[in-house]
Amino acid sequence: MKKKLLIIILVSLFAMLVIPKVDALGVTPGRTTLDYKQGLEQEVAFSVLNNEHKNMQVLLMVQGDLNDSVTLFENMVEFLPSEESKHFKYKVKLPDRIAKDPGLHTAEIVVLEIPKASDEGTYVGATVAVVSQLHIYVPCPGKCIDADLNVLDAEQNSTATLIVPVTNRGKLGIGEARAVIDIYTKLNEKVETLETDYAAIGAGKRTELSAKWQINVPPGGYLAKVTVFYDEESKSFEKQFAIGSQILSIESILVNNFQLGQIAKLQILVENKYNEELKSVFANLLVYNYEEQVMADLKSATENIPALSKKELIAYWDTVGVEEGEYNGKLMVRYGQKSTDRNLILKVSEDSLDITGVGYAIRPQGREGISVTTILLVLVIILLVVNLAWFVFFRRFMGKKKQPKASGRVIKA
């Protein structure tokens, strides 16, 4: 009996030493953005997340230049292991003084996990705090903007889309905004200059300017120097981005007529973006169970994919014994020694298999139909024309009918 107890104590001690101790804390939303309005009073909601499902004590504090304008309803909060998150609110009452100070004003709600004291009453180790920010933009009297750069599909030998989201932070509308993007290597050599399209931006509104770039430079890190011209003014900024060298892309996965317990056929559409044929390409899909162990390892037949073309790879999944639920998966399309990977979520139900993570494709505009607004507008115009025609016809018709009566009266007189 004593021996067993000793073993249990030793195992527990070993576990305490070996198993890493985790301190986790979260807050959502990470940022709340409000537009300035004079005398604005508003309650803002946020949640503190107990990611580790543990007993913890949390302190809520306010800091930042608007700290006097924010009132918390609670300052000290206790969490039980059963509580995954708790919802709170704070009240913000904007002072009039900031109206004269255009630009960004902030407050921070700091969520601090109070560390547990040691036996000697001292705090040991690192502590974690997370912040939910409040951003208030006071508009400038004239025209001013915020801008950023996002680079999509930055792969060698493909067409990248460079998007410059621009927000008009001024009180006046902008008639025309456009951007010029100069791209430099790490050695400060200019490799490309791109011009975006044009757009008007209303006061307080946001738009996206975009440009396409046929990438013919080697993969690696690049610097974009962006200048946004808006009416007679301009704003410049820089942003680093990387160009990859993906040769093969996974376009979509299609599963038709799925029935749980039967063999499912997965049609994986891949595109060869390289200007040479890729030989012996195959797809390998790993499906993980809830213990993160591989429960299915599916491989398609090998195929050769001609240059710059798409091909479907077929894999089969025997779903006998698979239960309904959500599973993590990893799809690898292998070619030579290389592989294009994508993490997936597979939602299995009795008669459907939804695979997310690759289910979307960006395609050119043109198939989405006519807008309801246009239809209603056409309808209103039709009715207007009909009624106008009816009115004109009716007046003429009545006028013709009345004429003989009038001449009759003249004869009588």
Partner: protein, 157 residues
């Protein structure tokens, strides 16, 4: 007078007919947001148009598969969307994906690791006795070895 009533009746019938056609052809779609995953479920739409701008500049087109369901992972932010089919493009609607700032410190015997467990890039400042002594930028799921002392404050970058 009878002619007037006839014309009004024809217009009413025409309106009822047009609205009925619109009702049946309108791309009816529901959206559900679970974390960063957005699920669209539709009866008769074949494309979802998504944009971060209300004017739909640079939209993404999400093809709805045969099952009329589609999902997409999006970064936190405000999004505008409308459903379309070959005939009609629906009204503009919006959804929001909240950012989540989350951090985890894994403490082992000799080393500690700070992990970004949220869904946004964070700027983590390290302070000791009220003085800031450094900062770390972490992308979601990225980690960095840290000293097991001081206070680490994470905020959305």
């Amino acid at each position: 007078m009878n002619k007037h009533i006839k014309i009004i009746m024809i217009q009413v019938i025409f309106l009822v007919l047009v609205f009925s056609i619109l009702y049946f052809l309108y791309p009816r779609t529901n959206v559900e947001v679970e974390g960063n995953l957005v699920n669209f479920r539709s009866v008769n739409a074949n494309v979802i148009i998504i944009s971060e701008s209300p004017d739909f500049s640079n939209p993404r087109y999400l093809d709805l598969a045969e099952g009329k369901n589609a999902s997409i992972n999006l970064k936190p932010g405000a999004y505008y969307w409308k459903a379309g089919n070959n005939l009609i493009q629906g009204w503009r609607r919006a959804f929001k994906i909240d950012s989540e700032v989350g951090m985890e410190i894994k403490k082992e015997e000799n080393e500690s690791e700070l992990v970004n467990i949220g869904n946004v890039k964070i700027n983590v400042t390290k302070s000791k006795e009220g003085t800031m002594i450094g900062y770390i930028i972490l992308e979601p799921n990225q980690s960095e070895e840290i000293e097991d002392s001081g206070k680490y404050t994470g905020r959305q970058e």
